[in-house]
């Protein structure tokens, strides 16, 4: 066992870093001043734009010694964050715990969650800008926001009403800015209408957020705690993303149902969306039947593209699910860590109190303080992890399910066509047989019948073929569009996530530097 020489007690030789401590806290205040704000991080909007054009095959120019330089991971010191950067104030100061009043939970969630929920619309703001830049030139000038969740009613019949605000300059809408109140089942109703119209012709209709009986019951019952406010916020953000995705689809945007949803003040209640209604049960039965059918259909795939794509989506689905599960575990553990750190901070503070040696006591209390602040930061990071990453992943898991659904529809379409062809063949055989058999009296009538049927089935075959071609074409286009969107979405979220990670670490760094500076000063005096 290598015998390590212990540094002599702090009386003579100190580690050189802290030699300047003679001047009190100057060492650290000067470090701190260099951390003063220069222009805050460059507008993220520009980042994806330049990256998309300059497709970084060789990331060499931007890769700053990420492999070799262990000591200084972030060598490019272009970013400096101010000590008093306003958007970070709420984190360092003590936050009001959400004492929620029944009517407007938003305003109280806002100070805490705002910076996070802002990420949702911002993502789509940027991608809209990019859409405008594209050579295709589809100008989408419509902005949707979902806000102000408000509890309406009481007891088990209560529900949350959300305000849907639209800002647009498109001519098909009567006004340029308007808002309506909608409840969750309205969104589900919209989705089911759109799905019934467009899914079977190959359009990827974005899925609506999932129901949650447990979550909603808590809200209904009026349990005003942080988990129910979290739930409402999560749902609000999910609804917003859902609408934004739907609106981005050029075909769906033209749909009158969508327009009615956005514009009209009164909407017929979508009862069929309830899980235990007759329609709900019918849906479940259909789903089961579909699953069985899928197993029995054996399609001769003439187009390798589809097979390839299906495989691709299958893989992607699996991997996203795995990643999602891991990220959820991470979030959970981070919350645990923050709880444990808070508990430890309290213990350390108590220990500091009972210690009768003053300098040591102070040092221990400071340790407790540092730990507490770090705990708060861990909490923030946990929120960031969750909102950005995890939600995106679950959105895409559902979207991919929709994509798979579309592929299945194509298979069904093919099946229909096949069936039509088979029936036509049978009818033709029957006709041929009739030609051979010589029964003059029945012949003419029967012949006419068969003739009619054959014509009917020929038409069906032709229609089937046309449908199949159409759906294949639509799917190709849709998948292309889907892929583009996916790349954009992921990229933006990853960048945002990295930025938040970096910011949290910067905060930790600052706190540590300050605290440790003071601690050393105190220790030195002793």
């Amino acid at each position: 066992m290598a015998a390590e020489r212990e540094p002599p007690p702090l009386g003579d030789g100190k580690p050189t870093d802290f030699e300047d401590l003679e001047d009190g806290e100057d060492l650290f205040t000067s470090t701190v001043s260099t951390l003063e704000s220069s222009p805050s991080s460059p507008e993220p909007a520009s980042l994806p734009a330049e990256d998309i054009s300059a497709n970084s095959n060789g990331p060499k120019p931007t890769e700053v010694g990420l492999d070799d330089d262990r000591e200084d991971l972030f060598a490019e010191a272009t970013e400096e964050v101010s000590l008093d950067s306003p958007e970070r104030e709420p984190i360092l100061s003590s936050e009001p715990s959400p004492a929620v009043t029944p009517v407007t939970p938003t305003t109280l969630i806002a100070p805490r969650i705002e910076s996070k929920s802002m990420s949702a619309p911002v993502i789509f703001d940027r991608s809209r800008e990019e859409i405008e830049e594209e050579a295709n030139g589809d100008i989408f000038d419509i902005e949707i926001g979902v806000s102000d969740p408000e509890k309406v009613g009481d007891g088990m019949n209560a529900y949350m009403a959300y305000r849907v605000t639209t800002k647009t300059s498109l001519s098909m809408f009567s006004k340029s800015e308007f808002s309506v109140k909608r409840r969750f089942s309205d969104f589900l109703g919209l989705h089911s209408k759109l799905a019934s119209k467009y899914l079977h012709v190959g359009y990827i209709v974005p899925p609506a957020p999932e129901k949650s009986i447990v979550g909603m019951t808590k809200v209904k019952v009026g349990k005003e705690d942080s988990s129910s406010t979290e739930f409402v916020e999560k749902r609000r953000a999910a609804l917003e993303r859902y609408l934004q995705r739907t609106v981005k689809h050029p075909t769906l945007l033209q749909d009158p149902d969508l327009r009615q949803f956005l514009e009209s003040s009164e909407l017929p209640r979508a009862v069929n969306t309830q899980a235990l209604s007759g329609a709900g049960i019918l849906r479940m039965v259909n789903k089961a039947a579909d699953a069985v059918n899928k197993m029995t259909i054996k399609m001769n795939e003439s187009d390798a593209w589809f097979e390839e794509k299906q495989q691709q989506f299958e893989n992607l689905d699996q991997q996203l699910r795995k990643l999602h599960a891991s990220v959820e575990a991470l979030v959970c553990h981070r919350k645990e860590l923050s709880a444990n750190t808070a508990a430890f901070a309290k213990s350390a503070a108590m220990l500091g109190n009972s210690e009768d040696h003053t300098a040591l006591s102070r040092a221990l209390s400071q340790l407790a303080e540092v730990e507490e602040k770090i705990d708060q930061l861990h909490q923030e990071q946990a929120f960031a992890d969750f909102y950005m990453f995890s939600e995106l992943l679950s959105d895409y898991i559902r979207l991919i399910a929709a994509v798979k659904g579309v592929f299945d529809h194509r298979m069904k379409c093919w099946q229909k066509w096949e069936d039509a062809q088979i029936t036509l063949l049978k009818k033709r055989e029957a006709e041929a047989k009739m030609m051979v058999a010589n029964k003059p009296d029945k012949i003419q009538q029967a012949k006419n019948e068969i003739r009619e049927e054959i014509e009917e089935w020929e038409a069906k075959v032709q229609q089937g073929e046309r449908d199949f071609e159409q759906i294949s074409k639509t799917i190709r286009k849709e998948v292309g569009r889907f892929e583009k969107e996916r790349v954009k979405d992921f990229k933006t979220v990853i960048i945002k996530y990295l930025e938040s990670l970096v910011q949290t670490q910067q905060q930790v760094f600052k706190i540590e530097v300050l605290m440790n500076g003071r601690k050393h000063f105190v220790e030195k005096r002793y």
Binding site: G11, D51, F74, A343, S354
Partner: protein, 399 residues
């Protein structure tokens, strides 16, 4: 009695030899350790120029049970009642680690080869860390004994250091363990009785203050130690969480053919780095904070034991006084009562003197050890914070 050297006495477990302030007449260290099936064998090496050792340098192989035997021998020795006996080292416990390694070995098909390799590496590192710590604990125990002017002269200690053969000390069987347990209960009951005893006045303010302080301190440090352990374990959990995440991200990245490829791969890399950092933070906290808290928890218990012994001696003294008075009134057996009372008095005074010295040493030892560890912890945290860091988001730009 020689005065102890405060500055040199370090109570924190470490692999370094304790600075004996110029007294190198007896140096003990654990030069090697081997972990077998379910026991650890320590090679204790002694360098000494003291006359009653046969050689100047020699080593023996000892097991954990023999350390415990030595500790118990000190505790039971009446001569050392006035001293703080260094706490016994904890039993080497590799159970948890071994279980995890076994579970990993059983295999999980959903885990990729890289993930498996990383997890195995982590577990091996954990095993190694536990091993190092147990060696350090045993070493510090011996070194404190060697540094203490009175304790180092114990005959059992010499036997422990020198006797080449196995000391044939078996581990406590169940009856002895139960006996020990009962003894503890009796002790605390006794203590409660004594303190409640009427007429027993604490004559010395110093001891009164120490007693209150130690009681409170011990509870609080035990609390802090438990919670520090939890924090450390949570950090470790977090670090382990990053493994499947970065594996999933790299596989996603390799499958992509578009711009997302670099993003995913970079993110995977970042998480890998974060994992290593978190792991390092966890182990630093473990060594500098948790271990130290744990050690002083045990040490403060030893100090409490000392106070109890003194209190017991005081009670005995009081009782002897009462007996003497009774004997005098009855005018029977005065002599034996007198001599008994004198014995008790002497014993009490002896204990009080040495206890005072010991407690002051305990305090200075504690303070210097805390200071050293907190400073080192702060430095390490700063280093990590710099790595995680500050200014610049080149990784975001690179993405």
């Amino acid at each position: 009695m020689e005065t102890h050297a405060e500055a040199g006495k370090e109570g924190k477990p470490s692999c370094a030899s304790v600075d004996l302030q110029g007294d190198s007449s007896l140096q003990v260290e654990i030069s090697d350790a081997v972990s077998e099936r379910d026991k650890v064998k320590f090679t204790v090496q002694t360098k000494s120029c003291l006359p009653h050792f046969a050689q100047t340098e020699f080593s023996v192989v000892r097991q954990h049970e023999e350390f415990i035997w030595l500790h118990d021998a000190y505790v039971e020795n009446e001569e050392y009642a006035g001293l703080i006996i260094p706490p016994a080292p904890p039993r080497p416990d590799f159970e948890a680690s071994r279980e995890k390694l076994q579970k990993l070995g059983e295999g999980d098909s959903s885990v990729t080869r890289e993930e498996f390799a990383k997890m195995k590496q982590e577990l091996e590192a954990e095993y190694l860390a536990i091993f190092k710590k147990t060696v350090a604990m045993h070493e510090v125990f011996l070194q404190r004994l060697a540094a203490h002017p009175t304790l180092r002269r114990d005959h059992n200690f010499f036997v422990f250091l020198e006797y080449g053969q196995d000391l044939s000390v078996r581990g406590k069987n169940r009856k002895e363990l139960l006996g020990g347990f009962l003894r503890n209960i009796v002790k605390s009951a006794d203590e409660a009785l004594i303190t409640g005893m009427s007429g027993l006045k604490e004559v010395d303010d110093f001891f009164e203050h120490e007693r209150t302080f130690l009681l409170e301190y011990h509870t609080r440090i035990r609390d802090a130690c438990l919670r520090a352990d939890r924090v450390m374990r949570a950090h470790k959990c977090l670090a382990d969480d990053y493994i499947p995440i970065s594996a999933a991200l790299s596989s996603l990245g390799t499958q992509e053919v578009n711009q997302l490829r670099t993003s995913f791969l970079k993110l995977a890399e970042l998480f890998e780095r974060l994992r290593k950092l978190e792991g390092r933070v966890a182990s630093d906290e473990d060594l500098k904070l948790s271990d130290m808290l744990r050690y002083y928890m045990r040490d403060s218990q030893a100090a409490k034991d000392l106070l109890y012994r003194r209190l017991r001696a005081l009670a005995d003294y009081e009782n002897a006084n009462k007996a003497l008075d009774k004997a005098r009134t009855r005018n029977r057996e005065v002599r034996p009562a007198e001599s008994h009372q004198q014995l008790c008095c002497q014993r009490f005074e002896r204990l009080s003197d040495s206890a005072k010295q010991e407690l002051m040493d305990f305090k200075s030892r504690r303070v210097s050890s805390f200071r050293k560890n907190l400073i080192e912890l702060a430095e390490l945290e700063l280093k990590h914070a710099k790595l995680k860091g500050p200014p610049g988001t080149p990784s975001a730009k690179a993405v």
